[in-house]
Amino acid sequence: MNVNQHTPMASPYGQPQPGYGHPGYAPLDGGYPVPYAPYNGPASAYQPGALPQDYSPFTSFPSKAVAATPVSDLSSPLDLGPARGPPTSGPPPVSVPQPFNQYSPSQGDVQNGPPPMTQAPPRPAASQPYNQGAVNPSGPHSSYPQHYGPPPSMQQVTNQMTGMQINSGPPTAAGPGYVPPHSSQPPISTAYSAAPPPAYSQASPPASSAPPQPPPPSGPATSQQYYGSPQSPSQQPFNSSLPPTSQQQFTSPAPPPPSSQQTFPPSSQQTFPPSSQQTFPPSSQQTFLPPSQQNFPPSSQQTFPQSSFSGPMPPPSQAPAPPGSQPQQSFSPAQPPFSSAPPPVSQPAFISGPPPSAQGSFPPRAPPPSSQSGSFPSAGPPPTSTPSSQYQGPMPPQQQHPPSQPSPYHAGPSPPSVQMPPTSMAQSNHLPPGPQGPPCPPGPMQQPPTQPGMQGGYPPQQNGAFGQVRGPQPGYAGPYPGQPNYGAPAPAPAPAPPAQKRLDPDSIPSPIQVIEDDRAKSTEPFTTGVRGQAPPLVTTNFQVKDQGNASPRFIRCTAYNMPCTADMAKQSQVPLAAVIKPLATLPPDETPPYLVDHGEGGPIRCNRCKAYMCPYMQFIEGGRRFQCGFCSCVTEVPPHYFQHLDHTGKRVDCYDRPELSLGSYEFLATVDYCKNNKLPQPPAFIFLIDVSYNAVKSGMVGIVCQELKSLLDYLPRENPEMDSVVRVGFVTYNKVLHFYNVKSSLAQPQMLVVSDVSDMFVPLLDGFLVNVNESRLVIESLLDQIPEMFADTRETETVFGPVIQAGLEALKAADCAGKLFVFHTSLPIAEAPGKLKNREDKKLIGTDKEKSLFQPQVGFYNTLAKDCVAQGCCVDLFLFPNQYVDVATLSVVPVSTGGSVYKYTYFQAQSDQERFLNDLRRDIQKLVGFDAVMRVRTSTGIRATDFFGSFFMSNTTDVELAGLDCDKAITVEFKHDDKLSEETGALMQCAILYTSCSGHRRLRIHNMAVNCCSQLADLYRNCETDTIINFFSKYAFRGVLNNPTKAVRDTLINQCAQILACYRKNCASPSSAGQLILPECMKLLPVYLNCVLKSDLLLPGADVSLDDRAYLRQLISCMDVSESHVFFYPRLLPLLKLESGSLPVAVRDSEERLSKGGVYLLETGLHLFLWVGASAQQELLLNIFGTTSFSQIDPSMTSLPVLDNPFSQRLREIVDSFRAQRPRYMKLMVVKQEDRAELIFRHFLVEDKCASGGASYVDFLCHMHKEIRQLLS
């Protein structure tokens, strides 16, 4: 919540949190006493309480949320009001968040509830993120109760929780301050709603993992989650508009009064803290929690210590406040009071509720506690104290708070002892809050129940829970999550130390949620005509209508609202970059770029900057001249191009000419655009096959030769009706090279051996490159004979440099561009140019010298690459290594020439053939351009300064690509060199001059216009995290060449922290420093960034070879956004029910989300896993594998058995569709739970801690928060 939301000004509302806290506490209290069941009760109870609040909130929210704008206004009124006003219009999310914040501040819960509801509707998107949790809850309104009660949106709740947590995070920071208590409270409210229950429930088991105490906890946990989610659902509506708010509120709650308090308590726990803590310092938190718990049952009290919240705000007040407070909050300001009040309200409600129900529920808590105690104990005790302290600066406050808390809540109970514990308790409390929440909202409880069921089924499945939740709360989930977090955290702690360590992942921003939300809202085709409009996420299927800007399939920007000045850009640290995929394949329902012919004179261009004719050219003087949109230079319109203007100043033929109306189109290039002023020859493909011992033995040679026979009919062509004009040639090699003469007039192919590898040359011209159809018989004869000829080879040494030289020379001799397909197996140690030695040295890893391992071993390949580029010789490398082959060096040429590297380690014909062949097929068939030069022109004011991808640059502006295929993306970074104006925005034109596969010279133009802003908030409102991650990863992966890996990681973290800190400082409404507030558009930045940091390249595990890392490094360099997204955050689909036409909703990449009884499909773009739970349902197994026995599943299978049942069919369809989406074929690996292979699989559960030391999402979020706080302080 806090997280996302944010920004919202929630922080201010921290106070509200207190309110929450109250509720939370209350619940907690109740919680203790009441078992889970109680929760329900409480929930209901809460609901009532909540309802009022909700109502109020609603009202407030409604206004905001509901009428999107209005709502926003409303919300804005609160805190953000002002700021948001604008935002609302612009970036709803922002506004929303703000509202949330406001709300939250004022009255976390309440606000959340209401706002979301209302807001949500209006602007689902914006609000959604934030709120999902909170907002939806709007439902909450009603929900509030619901929240707690409705829990349905557990996820949301969680989200909210997360948000909350975040807040809590801040709280911690702020914590020290007063906030803490509040925060804790606030969190509580939200968190509580969600969290509490979990805490308790799970506390024990559920939340955390529900492991130990599956039933109850799970129930609770789930319930909590549910709650969370439910809330979120309810919030959802809000989300859209307000939900965030609600969340924010949560967060805010914390901040406000308590910031310090909150922190304390919070830190301890709470929503924010909890979440935040949990997330961040989960461990600490956990620790805290545990202690608290242990300490208490009191913990519950502690939680309530949040009571501190209550403390902060008199419980009563809180209670009462809630309702009122919410409204107030929404209105805002009365933060302290309100916040206290509001949160209280909700909380109170909760509290009230909770207690009552709470008791019921609490009882559960009690149990949980016990359980918690159990779990907590371990973690709890020690950590608690420390953690809490750690957390805070907040700590101190906590202490303070504790007291307060105790007093308020159970103050009596455990205040003293509690204090520390309380904090921890707080967390637990939070959890409790959750519960409380739940309690309040029977919903949660209810949900829990449902969930419980779920949980029962799938204890781990919080996912499942989420899933459910999501359903309801997709958008809203966000906000709620915060709550969930709370809940979660609590649970975590409750469950066990380990559990404790984790924050409830549900409470932190969920990528899945964001993806689902975006999907949900992207129903209309995306039209590119509106400047500065961010396109749907890459994970969303959408149609694009080109209305003057390039389709996002061609260009994606990190920011669609660029800062006007360099100062702003520098301040925000948001990278300004575009990921350009010039030859991207478009779906069948989108028109490929039109071809424009401007006649003999060539394309019409600006006289000064040479930009090509495009929609940004302004025709003036009746159409006789045009003014360049990039450099403002005025150029005469050539007579043959003249056209009159209509009354609006547009050319009459504007819509008849693609170059005047579309974002992407192609020009026919004239001879002036050709090398040596000569029209190009058709390109050639040369296949260079390693035939050394290893290659033959692995079966590679046979496979390649066999496949080529049929594949040669599918050489790329522009017109499917025509035969491809691409000529082919064949070379085999080991220590020497064998060229083949396959001239059509020969009866048999002739082999020409070139042993002079030190000075490579091409032994023949005529007969080497041939037309497939003419020489078919000879070629087939050759391909039949190659495997035979070398079947008995004993040659193990290979060369590599000369192989590429050979291809290059052949192309030179034929005077054409082309592509080399090199199939290579081993480190080239034979005496020849480019000879390499084995330099893999594990000892260097982690040292300053590590970078040298990524640099090429010898300079030879750089020179060679340059020559290749000059000739238009693109190299695709297929590696089949059995040991170190020095990918770092071998890939220099492919990477510099726009080629690809494929690696099949330990290649075995049987198991890897399919993957290899599919890659090969695709690689050969895909459309490709040659001898390309790309240039990016921009408006005055910015300039393309840096380029990432597979290419070569001989100067600073021209990107030279020997080959460019439809899968290659180039990331371009822009820097200011002057001011931009908001009026004209920033324009960029990417022009690629290339030779098509039919040998025609073309110019492909992509135009892109984005807005410029003078307010940072606008920047943050309109950026795209996936693209930013794409940029960061490329930047970092290139960085390891010259910097120690650790430095690269630190740089990334720093920049990310700065981005978020800047937002927090400049855009978020004031709030306690302890809150973690994330911009809506970037709320996933931490999780994704963590994935980048944990990648094998930046944080290698012991089993990751240097080659693998080098391979990944180059792989990333040309990935587009969608590939990099799934690469860093794999898609994990639960396979329970498969419906045709739609995919199951993915779950988050965490082991916790896996159910023993389920089967999951995980996709990374490179790998495809089918994970089978140890106790997967027999029916499921039967449907998939044709066997009911888990043990009979063959883990070595690479394709699913073809079974005649809808499930199997659909699953295979899904697998196929995944494969079709990715440029590389993914081999299916079946992973059985508890199998050794599961280790590999787990590696891709990126939200978890990884074996190599990578932080879990939660941990990292905490860390990030700490970084941000440091920056802010």
Partner: protein, 743 residues
């Protein structure tokens, strides 16, 4: 005693030796005064159908630095079973196997009629014959086709167990692997890069087998070749016959485009390097024949003779004299180095150059000259000249063996009064210093052993001696000097053989027996020997100097023609032609050499039987048919009247049968010459006023020229339009010079 003429003839028939002097002046001083050195033409493998080889090892003198072979001149003590070396006077016991000898039971080598004897020795396994074709593919389609056919035909002429290999070249050099089925495989080398033998062997994958199979166990190179599978490039004919025939059939012209105004890129130098390197790595010291077929000059890489720009013509003598031939020295040096390597390994290189323009023989001649290979020059591969010449390379002797031998080593041993100065012929020095080696070098000197990588029955070396006996230490009356020629070689049937020729001549005191010495002078031999010296010097020195030197050595009539011959005169000849002529001059036997120096002219007429006539313009008469044999050309010249008759078709009329016969006679004679001559001469049928008549006109003595035409009247002969001096003028001048120089 028979006349010297008979003696000389007998000696030549028996031993293949002709000395310039058949009595040797007994002191250095006297010998020097004789002007013509004591020297001989020696034909090591002169065909001796009557000489059965003996199947045992020769008996050698036991003195380490002598090792002369037991011969009829040795004194033998049959009782003591001891023989005395007639060169070093060492007394040697007979080996145990000779225990049974006695005056009446003498081994062959002691019998006087076996002054030349041939031993078959069993040393190691028989070495295979190796034929490596190196084929230029930058030919016109028609030429290439003809060449391919010739090559395919040649496969049937090879003994089945001979190893063959194929290298083709154009812009690139391809070494074809012959053993693989299905796919034609070849190793390719860039035509512009000089490679060391080691590199080549590495690139061909020959390193290990070469080391193990040949040096370690020279016994079984053939087995190794057959069994190891490593010697893909040289395979027994019987095994790859079909493959190779197909391969040759599929040979394409060099596929690289030749832009207008350019010569095709021809990597002759590298091709040869690869060939030499291949053999060096696989069969060192085994007889092998590299047969190079070229249709143009090397235009790239090492050994380049001319650039590929057609606008730059290939060097002419004019360029060479002006020092304007930029590739000449470099290329020559390159080929010389190559030739030496090849010679060291016992491989010879043939050059078959067929092109209308020069092909760079000037630079490449040493390849053949040093290794004993053939050079054949023609206009096209699609001519009978080439086809028949090539076929004749594989001609067989009375035993059915090829008329070729490999890896010959000629050793000369002399008695003490004589030392050997050197040889002139297709050989290289083995740098074997010994007591019989003179410090005074003539030809290839400084050694008593030479390697002659390829020998034919007609290969003749000129060997020059020096009398070292001091004037004050006269040889006892009746003393005889002896020379022993020991030739070890690999017979074409793969046997190792040693032929030993031992000859002796009497010493004579020049003061007292000058008459005898004079009468023992062999004019023909001396002329050829002197001419060889002249040619040898012409190769290495400036033309005018050689002529001046020659002018000082008076050898009557021959000298006139020699002066005008293409061997010394470069005018009207391209550098390649000069090289070609000289090449053949220094290897042919005496008879052929004489023809080369002074062409033979036969006259056919109704006036009588064919008769030799003076090689003079006065012999060119309207009613004669002339047949001129210059060795390189065979010209049939119809006099003006005859030509008119022939044109009128009289020969077709029954009543002029005699005319028909007259026309036929020279043709038959020419055919006879053509049958035996190697290389095939250029056969020219021309008539008075025909353009080809220039071949005749350029040879005859211009006794009638436009300068003296009117003085001589018009009744006989044909005027030659030349500024050359006639024999008459030459003789006048010579006389004058003789008088003045003696003063």
């Amino acid at each position: 005693m028979a006349t010297y003429q008979e003696f000389i003839q007998q000696n030549e028939d028996r031993d293949g030796v002709r000395f310039s002097w058949n009595l040797w002046p007994s002191s250095r001083l006297e010998a020097t005064r004789l002007v013509a050195p004591v020297s001989c033409l020696f034909t090591p493998l002169k065909e001796r159908p009557d000489l059965p080889p003996v199947q045992y090892e020769p008996v050698l003198c036991s003195r380490a630095n002598c090792k002369a072979v037991l011969n009829p001149l040795c004194q033998v003590d049959f009782r003591a079973k001891i023989w005395a070396c007639n060169f070093c006077f060492q007394r040697n016991p007979f080996p145990p196997s000779y225990a049974g000898i006695s005056e009446v039971n003498q081994p062959a080598e002691l019998m006087p009629q076996f002054s030349t004897i041939e031993y078959i020795v069993q040393r190691g396994p028989p070495a295979p014959l190796i034929f490596l074709y190196v084929v230029d593919t930058c030919l016109e389609e028609e030429d290439l086709q003809a060449l391919k056919e010739s090559l395919q035909m040649s496969l049937s002429l090879l003994p089945p167990n001979a190893l063959v290999g194929l290298i083709t070249f154009g812009r690139m050099v391809q070494v074809h692997e012959l053993s693989c089925e299905g796919i034609a495989k070849s190793y390719v080398f860039r035509g512009t890069k000089d490679l060391s033998a080691k590199q080549i062997q590495e690139m061909l994958g020959l390193m290990k087998p070469a080391a193990a199979g040949n040096q370690g166990r020279p016994a079984a190179p053939q087995d190794a070749a057959a069994s190891s599978g490593k010697f893909w490039f040289l395979q027994p004919v019987h095994r790859v016959d079909m493959n190779l025939t197909d391969l040759l059939g599929e040979l394409q012209r060099d596929p690289w485009p030749v832009p207008q105004g350019k010569r095709p890129l021809r990597s002759t130098g590298v091709a040869l390097t690869v060939a030499v390197g291949l053999l060096e790595g696989t069969f060192p010291n085994t007889g092998a024949r590299v047969m190079l077929f070229i249709g143009g000059p090397p235009t790239q890489g090492p050994g380049m003779v001319v650039g590929d720009e057609l606008k730059t013509p290939i060097r002419s003598w004019h360029d060479i004299q002006k020092d304007n031939a930029r590739h000449l020295k470099k290329a020559t040096k390159y080929y010389e180095a190559l030739a030496n390597r090849s010679a060291v390994n016992g491989h010879n290189i043939d050059i078959y150059a067929c092109a209308l323009d020069q092909t760079g023989l000037l630079e490449m001649k040493c390849l053949s000259n040093l290794t004993g290979g053939h050079i054949v020059m023609g206009d096209s591969f699609n001519t009978s000249l080439f086809k028949q010449t090539f076929q004749r390379v594989f001609s067989k002797d009375y035993n059915g063996d090829f008329r070729m031998a490999f890896g010959g080593v000629l050793e000369v041993k002399t008695s003490r009064e004589l030392k050997v100065c050197g040889t002139i012929g297709p050989c290289v020095s083995l740098n074997s210093k010994g007591s019989c080696v003179s410090e005074n070098e003539m030809g290839i000197g400084g050694t008593s052993q030479w390697k002659v990588c390829s020998l034919t029955p007609s290969t003749t070396l000129g060997i020059y001696f020096e009398v070292v006996n001091q004037h004050n230490a006269p040889v006892p009356q009746g003393g005889r000097g002896a020379v022993q020629f020991v030739t070890q070689y690999q017979h074409s049937n793969t046997q190792k053989r040693i032929r030993v020729t031992t000859i002796a001549r009497n010493w004579a005191d020049a003061q007292s027996q000058i008459q005898h010495i004079e009468s023992s002078f062999d004019q023909e031999a001396a002329a050829v020997l002197m001419a060889r010296l002249g040619v040898f010097r012409a190769e290495s020195e400036e033309g005018p100097d050689v002529l001046r030197w020659l002018d000082r050595q008076l050898i009557r009539l021959f000298m006139f023609h020699l002066r005008r011959s293409p061997f010394l005169q470069v005018f009207n000849n391209s550098p390649d032609e000069s090289s070609y002529y000289r090449h053949h001059f220094v290897r042919q036997d005496l008879t052929q050499s004489l023809i080369m120096i002074q062409p033979i002219l036969y006259s056919y007429s109704f006036h009588g039987p064919p008769e030799p006539v003076l090689l003079d313009s006065s012999s060119i008469l309207p009613d004669r048919i002339l047949l001129m044999d210059t060795f390189f050309q065979l010209v049939i010249y119809h006099g003006e009247t005859i030509a008119q008759w022939r044109k009128a078709g009289y020969q077709e009329m029954a009543e002029y049968e005699n005319f028909k016969q007259l026309l036929q006679a020279p043709l038959d004679d020419a055919q006879e010459i053509l049958q035996t001559r190697f290389p095939m001469p250029r056969y020219i049928d021309t008539e008075h006023g025909g353009s080809q008549a220039r071949f005749l006109l350029s040879k005859v003595n211009p006794s009638q020229t436009h300068n003296n035409l009117y003085a001589w009247g018009q009744e006989t002969g044909a005027p030659i339009l030349t500024d050359d001096v006639s024999l008459q003028v030459f003789m006048d001048h010579l006389k004058k010079l003789a008088v003045s120089s003696s003063a």
